[in-house]
Structures are given as C-alpha cells and as structure tokens.
C-alpha cells in the first residue's frame, strides 16, 4: 500500500456570478445565478514515502483545492484519500500533527511579534517535547539562515526572510509530510536557493514526503523528479519531468561565439538558428543530432571561439503542454 493514496476525488464549488455594471449588480441582489466550477474532478494518484512530487498547472487548475483536501481543510464531494492509513478530514486532529503546510501566499506568523515567539506557541500547540523542540528549532534556524531574523518583529522582515521563518514554523513538529504551496513565490535568487537546498536536505535526511505546487519551473527542475500536471481539475500528466520534456523533443539551446558569417545551415536536428551580437544561437534536438555531431558539423563551416549549452526552458515545455490541452 502506498503512503499517500488519492482515489477519484472530486470537488465542485458553486460560485455566484454577475455581470458588470449597476443593472446587473441590482439584478444579482435579487436573483443570483450560480455556476458550478469543478475544482477537482476524478483525481487519483499515489505517492511513496520520501517522494517529492511537483504538482503543477495553470492558475485556477485545482492545485490548491487538492492541497487543501490533502491537508484536511476541505472535504471532497466524492472519492477517498488515505495518508499513512488516516483519512485527513475524518481523523483531522491526529492527521494534522503529522503534516506541515506552507502556503506561500499566506502567513501563519504573528505580525507584531518576533517569529521565535510564534515558534514557542506552535511548540505548545503541537505538544512538542521541550528538548526535541530546542534541537529542531536550532537546526531549522541554522539551515534556513535565520539566526538574527527570528528575533525581529515579523512586520519588519523582508518577504524572503519571512518565508524562511514560515517554513521553519511549519517544520517544528517534524512532520512526515510537507505540503508546499508556492513556497518560492516572490523570493529573490538567494532566498530561493536557500529554500530549495533546505527542501532537498530534509527530504534526504528526514525522508519527508513532499508535495510542492509552484509556477516556478526551476523549483520543479531543482527538486522534483516526478510531476503531476493538472488542468481544469483533471490530471493530465503524471510521470517524470524528463519524459514530459522528451515528448516535445529533447531540445538544447547552443550559443556559439564566432567572428565568421554562416550561410546555408541545413541539417536534420537543428530546429532553429538566429544571429546575435556575439555569434549564433541554435536550438538543437539532441535525440536526432547529438551535441558532438552538431559541433563537428559546425566546425567544418566556421571557427568556433566559445560554446554555451543550455536546456531549453521547461517553461516552454509547460506552455506547449498547456496549449495542447487547451488550458
């Protein structure tokens, strides 16, 4: 049996809609039209202990709804969820003691007091043993590099500092499962890196199972081998990131620095090329033409001064996927 089992969950919201303008506003005061939105329809997946899954999809796809159902906040209209033998919304109290949740767009820290005071409160809420608490707290603080930050009232922190405190707060009770709902939203490069390194580390050392939603594909590339792509409430893809990339060709971007001019490029596997200020930029499908063959081919034509090879952004892959499914 898998650690997390989600079977056929569906959830529909009824949303009041109204047209714009005064007339429609008055009309909707007396009679409301509702539209049903399928935030999740027939979603099923399984996860093993210690796995990291990237849960992705465009805005409004139903990611947060699934996270909320998995964390016991929402009850699905139908379907079953079993996590470690518990049903989140039925065995709520026992269940939530074993999970940690970070909502990137919300805050759990008290605004007017230092984060460390909120930590102390969480210690009592989760009934964490004093010694274990001190140890975990100090570890988290040093890993997330928030030694000084935790002593400052939260309202004075930058977003990146606050988010690191939020993550620490969600892990004080050493949860077995961690839900990260857009944890890197709005963070600068340094904070992002600290957060990512940290997530990797706890996954490796504590074997924490992690479900991560994000719009930042570099998060996914850095952290998750497996992704679940969701759109309009349905699962569209469940598998490795590499496979999804391969579906659209395994493309690399190759930037060549050269003084020479290039003419009549015609080889299978070179998808596109364009001139830039230092030389040329190629998109190469390495399933057809390996980098080695490509460079050999190019070497016969021009003097190569420098080469820079890059993966084609996963963003492009995701956009293509969204387009394909008409999201």
């Amino acid at each position: 049996m898998s650690f997390i089992e989600v079977k056929n969950i569906s959830k529909t919201f009824k949303v009041a809609k109204r047209g714009s303008g005064l007339k429609n506003g008055i009309k909707s005061f007396f009679k409301r039209d509702y539209i049903a939105i399928d935030a999740a329809s027939d979603i099923s997946f399984e996860m093993d202990k210690g796995e990291i899954v990237g849960y992705i999809g465009p805005n409004g796809a139903g990611k947060s709804t699934t996270i909320k159902i998995l964390s016991g906040i929402l009850v699905p209209d139908s379907g079953t969820v079993k996590v470690n033998g518990l049903v989140p919304w039925v065995d709520r109290k026992e269940y939530v003691s074993n999970i940690g949740v970070v909502f990137g767009q919300r805050s759990q820290l008290w605004w007017d007091i230092p984060a460390i005071d909120t930590f102390d409160l969480l210690k009592d809420m989760y009934k964490i043993d004093e010694k274990a608490y001190e140890k975990t707290k100090n570890e988290l603080i040093s890993l997330l590099k928030i030694e000084d930050v935790v002593k400052v009232p939260v309202r004075q922190l930058s977003l990146g500092q606050r988010m690191r405190c939020e993550i620490a707060a969600s892990l004080l009770h050493k949860p077995k499962i961690l839900f990260l709902d857009e944890p890197t939203i709005g963070l600068d490069a340094v904070s992002k890196k600290i957060v990512r390194d940290f997530i990797k580390k706890i996954n490796k050392e504590e074997n924490t199972t992690i479900i991560l939603t994000t719009h930042d594909m570099s998060d996914i590339e850095a952290l998750a081998k497996r992704i679940i792509l969701i759109g309009k409430g349905k699962i569209l893809y469940d598998g490795t990131l590499q496979k999804l990339k391969n579906r659209y060709g395994n493309n690399k971007k190759v930037v060549i620095t050269t003084q020479n001019r290039l003419s009549n490029i015609n080889k299978k596997g070179i998808i596109s090329h364009k001139k830039n200020e230092i030389g040329y930029e190629f998109i190469v499908d390495v399933n057809i033409l390996t980098i080695n063959e490509f460079l050999k081919y190019l070497g016969t034509k021009i003097e190569i001064e420098d080469v820079d090879i890059d993966n084609v952004g996963i963003d492009d892959v995701i956009i293509k996927t969204y387009e394909e499914y008409d999201l």
Binding site: N59, K68, G72, I73, K93, S107, Q108, K123, D124, M125
Partner: protein
C-alpha cells in the same frame, strides 16, 4: 490545555505593549463617564424623581463601572485578526493545527479582553472614587456583595466572549462584519444595559431585555455592585448566567463546525 494557556500568555504580552492605546482608552472612558453622569445629574436635579427606580448614587457608580470595565464586557469588540483571516483566507493555517479552532479563539478573545481591562480599569475606578459628590463612585456595601459582583463579572466575560464568537462565526457566511451585524450589536448593547440600567427601561422593553442573555453581561454585575439587586435576588441570575454561557457556547461551537465545514477558503 497547555496550548490554550500559551495562547493566553502570548496574547496578553502582545497587548500589554500598547500603552498609549491604553491611555487613550482611559481618557475616552472618562469623557463618556462624565457626559453620561452630567446628563443624569441634571435629570435628577430637575426634581420629580420619586418614581425613579435607582437612586443617583447607585446610577453614578453603575456608569463608572460600565466605563471602567468597558473593554472587558463590550459585546462587539472586533477581533481584527480573526475577521481578516476569514476574509483573506489565512484561516487555512488555523485549520491545519491539532487544536480546536473554537476554543483557541475563545481563549484568545478572553486573553485580549483581560489584558486590555487590566491596563484600564484601575485608574478609572480610583479617580472616580475620589471625585466630589455626586460624581463619585461608591464602595460596595459589604464584602459579600463585592465577591458576588466579581463572580458575576467573570461569568459576564465568558458570556460576552461566547456571544462574540457566534457573531464572528456569522462572518464566515456573510464575509462582512458590518451591516446587519452592526445593527444587531447596537441593539444588544442597549439590551445589555450598556447605555442605561434595565430598571430605567419602559416596561415592555424591560420584559424583552429580561428574556435575552445580554443583560447578564453588563446590567447584572453592576447592579449587584451598587446594591440595586440584592444578594438574595442575585442567586437565580447567577444560575441564569451559567445556563446562558452553556447555551451560547454550544451554539457558537456548532456554528463554528458548520462554518468550517462549508467554508470556502478565500483565494488561491
């Protein structure tokens, strides 16, 4: 239990920081106290007070007590954190805690009220006591009266918070703490005796106020203090307080469960 204690402590410490707010509060309380009292002094001095069911000395003390304990027993003290949490969806975090949502906020509200009143009540009472007649606060007639007053005030706090919880939970459905709720609040404030003691009400209003829970929050403790309700008459009212606390707490608790079950957590 430890968690509730911890929530209580933290809220308490947090609120103690706001000293200037407390000073402003005291000034406001004095202002309102004087305005009310001067109106009544003028009214009593106009003669024709034979039928008034409350002597001026009692009434003045009642008004001072009401001002001194205002922050403890005022019904519609909005819990901004909770309301904004419901509106913007931060409440999601509250729901992933292994702690009962209702009692957490119940404890929070009590902590905030107690910390606020502790910073305010004493200066108001002290100065009111030393004011010249007829503006002064009188002492309770005996120790027993004082103790029953204290008991009644404690019960009043629990009842007020229970009522307040019900109102805040309604916000889950309306997503707005204004409108109908505010009208309801002004009416309940009057029915609680927040403006004048219930004995001064016309008979029909008096009867209505007596079947509702609000009078236990304000009218009862202060009239016990002033001796307007005798100790022997207070006993059924104290029992009444207990019953209302249980009833309103239960309503709030069930309403919370219902609210959370159908709650659409606002936003992403």
């Amino acid at each position: 239990m430890k968690a509730i204690r911890s929530i209580f402590r933290l809220n308490f410490l947090n609120d103690l920081q706001y000293r200037s707010q407390a000073l402003a509060g005291i000034a406001t309380q004095f202002f309102f106290g004087f305005v009310f009292i001067m109106v009544y002094v003028a009214f009593y001095e106009s003669g024709n007070t034979d039928k008034v069911p409350m002597p001026l000395t009692q009434l003045v003390s009642y008004l001072w007590l009401n001002q001194a304990f205002f922050s403890l027993i005022y019904i519609w003290t909005k819990e901004k954190d909770l309301i904004s949490m419901i509106k913007n969806g931060n409440v999601a975090y509250e729901l992933v805690r292994p702690i009962n949502f209702y009692f957490k906020w119940y404890a929070t509200m009590i902590a905030k009220r107690v910390s606020r009143v502790l910073l305010r009540f004493f200066p108001v009472l002290l100065i009111a006591y030393f004011l010249p007649k007829p503006f002064n606060l009188m002492l309770p007639s005996n120790l027993e009266t004082f103790l029953i007053f204290l008991l009644s005030l404690v019960l009043s706090t629990f009842l007020v918070v229970a009522i307040s919880m019900v109102l805040h939970m309604i916000t889950f459905f309306t997503l707005n703490e204004k409108g109908v709720l505010e009208i309801f609040m002004s009416v309940s404030e009057i029915l609680a005796g927040g403006t004048i003691p219930l004995v001064m009400f016309p008979t029909f209003l008096y009867k209505i106020a007596y079947v509702l829970p609000f009078r236990y929050t304000c009218d009862l403790p202060f009239r016990i203090y002033t001796g307007n309700i005798s100790i022997s008459n207070a006993t059924p009212d104290i029992i009444g307080s207990f019953i209302w606390i249980i009833v309103v707490t239960l309503i709030g608790y069930l309403l919370t469960r219902k609210a959370l079950k159908k709650a659409v957590i606002q936003g992403g």
